[in-house]
Symmetry: D2
């Protein structure tokens, strides 16, 4: 069956999430550099088609906790340190998505689909 | 509105595409190494949840054409050299997606949504 | 033979360059988002050990030229759009490196090694 | 001071390590897909200039240990699961490098420099 516009909106939202995660996971990050990285991720992914808004928070308290256990003052960006929301609009349909940790894994999920 | 299972299937399919592209774009590739890279991409992305099958073809003729223009014997993997199909199944819904070049850009698109 | 400190300084400088390029190549970039990306790359790579300074310029004129040829208003970050300098210090040795385009390829090179 | 050929060989070796790590870290990997990924990494990085040989072992026992703790059957590739050796030759100089874990961090180091 041909996809509906709402389904295409959901597909587009998934592309943004997969892109964001696999482009930036592994980036060296510290509490001091977290803010510039968060802003760059937002602006980079907002370039993609149909992407209305990206909000990235890098969890500096979680970063500090991770760094307190080891000898280094930076680590690699991974889902554990990320709180992300993405808003996609496609042909009148608005899709809101979110990344949250669940059982230690970054779970990307559709929050709601409107229009 | 809460997403339907078919919409979630489309979202999941998008995640796989974005992941595949942004994980592997930029990889050094030559006609000789194209095959091992294509197999690794398929098996890597098939690990992701609800991902039934990934088929990756690296277009070695297109690679050879690109390399004929320059002094190097390898280049960076990008959409121009890729033909990808991904099959996602989620709660009885089957989504077929494809990446194709359009106007010089890699366009990821939903082919059909069933179930 | 065991590596000298100056050789180790050069090895460390190479790591930073390879990291920078393969972490960020492929990022969606436009003239508007170039600045936040350049700052994030600098701060991310400066986290790495022995890395004193990273200067990244994203060549917005070259970006605009590339975008003028196609239908999209963003593209993928690649060496063609980057001007990078990295300064590494290791055990009293200072290494200055630079990425420049040569014959259409991003060439990373050692500029000088002191101390 | 202008870099010596041996120093350039060390710089080149560093580039390969940084490239390898930041290109492939984050790739979805399971014990079943580890072998195709290891081969693809070797062949991809061997494309780079002056790179004679790359040997990648993905530590499937360590992978299995990590997966035993959680609900998923795959994880993201990171230094904890990698054993890598790279041999670089440049103008008669041979550089051998290795990645090992130290205090929980992947440490890339020069093993020896000859010629």
């Amino acid at each position: 069956m041909d996809p509906s516009d709402a389904q295409t909106a959901c597909f587009e939202a998934g592309i943004k999430f997969g892109s964001l995660y696999h482009q930036f996971a592994g980036t060296p990050v510290s509490p001091d550099s977290a803010d510039s990285l968060a802003r760059a991720i937002e602006e980079a992914i907002e370039n993609q088609p149909h992407c209305e808004a990206v909000t990235v928070e890098i969890l500096t308290e979680e970063l500090e906790r991770a760094l307190a256990d080891g000898p280094a003052d930076y680590t690699e960006l991974t889902g554990r340190f990320l709180d992300v929301e993405i808003l996609v609009e496609y042909e009148g349909h608005t899709v809101r998505t979110r990344m949250e940790m669940e059982d230690g894994y970054p779970l990307m999920r559709l929050v709601d689909v409107d229009g």
